[in-house]
């Protein structure tokens, strides 16, 4: 699969009175054309900051501290603003968490949808109006809703409008930051099915961000797990389902009560996420890790990449075997 987006050693910092918060630390991943890539983790792990860094929506005190973002051969981090603005909507768009805060309450849906189109094609004119109607149909909303104000629509309908807007210029990458988190499960399911349908139809890539790992396992092709600003594991959906390798991913997966199967006690993950101003040395997960060894607190684990994906954990040596397996293999 050819690469559409390549993120290399992305680092983002927040300045705070107590010191520098390393919200995103050396994160690298890539997304193929037409691929749905998920980024999961708990609050404060840097998943949304990563998305904001990619589409240059960071505002002070956040600042890009290093790394590169290449979209379809274009280096985004060094692009002058006016050139980057041309890429917004047309090459990539973003769908944010709560649609209620993304739509302007005093403008009708019609003018908000047309705004994005006209900004890129000033001559669109009448055609823009037609396109707005098509976009509404695309997300299964009746065209007469174009004359509604956002408050006249339900939460799910508003989220559909925001998704329609993101589709307006047929971008090749759509970033979705918790697009369904504030919605009821039945509404969420409808929107997810719609997103997958549109993705199939237009073939764009998706960077899907959520804390809801089961949802991610249902819809993403590959999944990256972040913890305390670092990407600790990347694996395909199948690999994640059959058994993730990083102890944090394992703990996270066992924190979601399953719907089926016999009732058994879930253990969760002891402790709480670290202070990112003074993160623990070595592997940032070691204070909460049941399998921590001596080197975990002193050395940062190298990223091991193999056919199963990649993982940053001392339990796995270069061959991708667990320490027990490796010592057994040596004997």
């Amino acid at each position: 699969m050819s690469k559409l987006l390549q993120v290399q050693n992305l680092s983002i910092e927040y300045a705070s009175p107590r010191g520098v918060v390393k919200a995103v630390d050396n994160v690298s991943f890539s997304i193929g054309k037409g691929e749905i890539f998920g980024l999961a983790g708990e609050s404060g792990c840097g998943k949304s900051t990563t998305a904001f860094g990619i589409c240059r929506l960071l505002r002070p005190p956040a600042r890009l501290a290093g790394g590169s973002v290449v979209l379809d051969g274009i280096e985004l981090t060094e692009l002058p603003d006016e050139q980057f603005d041309k890429l917004r909507w047309s090459k990539m768009s973003i769908v944010l968490q709560s649609a209620m805060n993304n739509l302007n309450p005093v403008l009708k849906i019609r003018s908000q949808l047309m705004d994005a189109i006209v900004a890129h094609e000033p001559d669109a004119g009448k055609e823009a109006a037609k396109r707005a109607e098509q976009l509404m149909r695309l997300v299964d909303l009746p065209a007469d809703r174009l004359d509604s104000y956002p408050h006249e629509l339900s939460g799910g309908m508003r989220q559909r409008v925001v998704i329609a807007m993101a589709m307006a210029m047929k971008p090749s990458l759509v970033i979705m930051d918790e697009p369904t988190t504030a919605l009821d499960v039945v509404v969420q399911n409808g929107i997810i099915r719609k997103i997958l349908e549109l993705q199939e139809q237009f073939g764009f890539s998706i960077l899907f961000i959520t804390h809801d790992l089961p949802l991610m396992l249902e819809m993403c092709d590959r999944i990256g797990i972040m913890y305390a600003g670092r990407l600790v594991e990347i694996a395909s959906r199948q690999e994640m389902k059959s058994g993730p390798r990083h102890p944090y991913t394992q703990g996270l997966l066992h924190s979601f009560p399953p719907l089926y199967g016999p009732k058994r006690r879930l253990e969760g993950i002891p402790g709480h996420p670290p202070d990112l101003i003074r993160p623990p040395g070595g592997c940032r997960f070691h204070p909460r890790c049941a399998r921590a060894m001596t080197q975990c607190s002193s050395r940062e684990p190298a990223v091991l990449a193999d056919e199963r994906g990649q993982v940053a954990c001392h339990l796995y040596n270069e061959e991708g075997l667990s320490v027990e397996q490796a010592s057994a293999a040596r004997e």
Binding site: L215, S255, P257, L259, G268
Partner: protein
């Protein structure tokens, strides 16, 4: 038969204002009945606006019911005026948002100790009792926490403080309204486990309000599914999740993300497209793939089936 710990009978709540010219009413809860025994966990599930939090607030007497009755150990909340005053020692509530539920001006020690003094369960210095309570909810060493302010604690720790505060009055029933939805999942599991442990240790009954079927199944012995203010299904948790009866329950289960389910399972879904809940017939008929003429015209009563199961649907009448 002995009196159940909690008996809710045809409970209803209508919000609204009436003036000379206009009547503006919203039926939030309608005809909800159930019982709760000591040591039992009941999960009330449903989407936002289904009335589940309204039930929680009526159970704890934060708002009065407009019809029906709530009985604690045989005493009626409506008729027995004395029950209202001592109700806090009988039922306590844990709120969804621990960040908003704790007064930022007071120390943890004050917050946890205060109900003991107000309800005259304790005389003099509450400190030893508060330390014991903090220990019980896993905030150890308790000495480190008692003089802190809420802002110095994480979300999970704040929720533990809420639980400690609630335990102080040794209630028989705890109503937990989405106790983990504001917390990270790994922390939420700890809170669910703590509640389950306390339930066994203290012989509590627990009512869990949630929109998450997974946590309902994890915590509860019985599940009650709410839709549009009505109870549509009730039964043992395993059965409600494993063999749902009501089309709405089926839809909820089908919609909940679960990567391990049988992917070949499909379901006909009718998108309501912002349609309002119908006023005649079954409240779910506009979204129900099985809806017939009776569903559109006749309202449905609860049908009691074998094995404690109940369902409000014309398919089973």
């Amino acid at each position: 038969m002995s009196k159940p710990l909690l008996h809710v009978n045809e409970l209803g709540k209508v919000f609204g204002s009436r003036s000379m010219f206009r009547k503006n009413e919203f039926r939030a809860v309608h005809d909800v009945s159930f019982r709760l025994e000591q040591g039992e966990v009941l999960a009330i599930v449903g989407e936002s606006g289904s009335g589940k939090s309204t039930i929680a607030r009526m159970l704890t007497n934060l708002i009065p019911a407009t019809s029906g009755d709530i009985m604690y150990g045989g005493q009626s909340l409506r008729r027995d005026k004395r029950l209202g005053r001592k109700l806090p020692t009988f039922v306590q509530m844990i709120f969804q948002d621990p960040f908003a539920a704790l007064n930022p001006h007071h120390t943890i020690g004050y917050i946890v100790g205060r109900p003991l003094l107000v309800q005259r369960q304790w005389k003099g210095d509450t400190r030893p009792k508060v330390l014991e309570l903090l220990q019980k909810v896993g905030l150890t060493p308790a000495e480190d926490f008692i003089d802190k302010y809420p802002y110095q604690l994480s979300g999970g720790q704040k929720q533990r403080v809420m639980i400690a505060k609630v335990l102080g009055l040794a209630p028989k029933v705890i109503v937990a309204d989405e106790p983990t939805s504001m917390l990270d999942v790994s922390i939420g599991v700890d809170i669910m486990n703590l509640l389950l442990d306390l339930k066994s240790q203290e012989q509590l009954a627990l009512i869990l309000i949630t929109h998450n079927l997974g946590s309902a199944k994890y915590m509860a012995d019985r599940i009650m599914v709410m839709y549009a203010g009505q109870m549509v299904e009730y039964g043992p948790a395993e059965q409600v999740i494993g063999e749902p009866l009501h089309p709405y329950t089926k839809l909820l289960i089908y919609s909940s993300p679960d990567p391990w389910r049988d992917a070949s399972l499909t379901m006909e879904i009718i998108d309501p497209q912002g349609m309002e809940i119908p006023k005649t017939g079954c409240a779910f008929h506009h979204r129900c793939p099985h809806a017939g003429d009776a569903c559109r015209t006749k309202s449905v009563a609860v049908t009691k089936l074998g094995g404690e199961r109940q369902v409000r649907c014309h398919l089973y009448t």
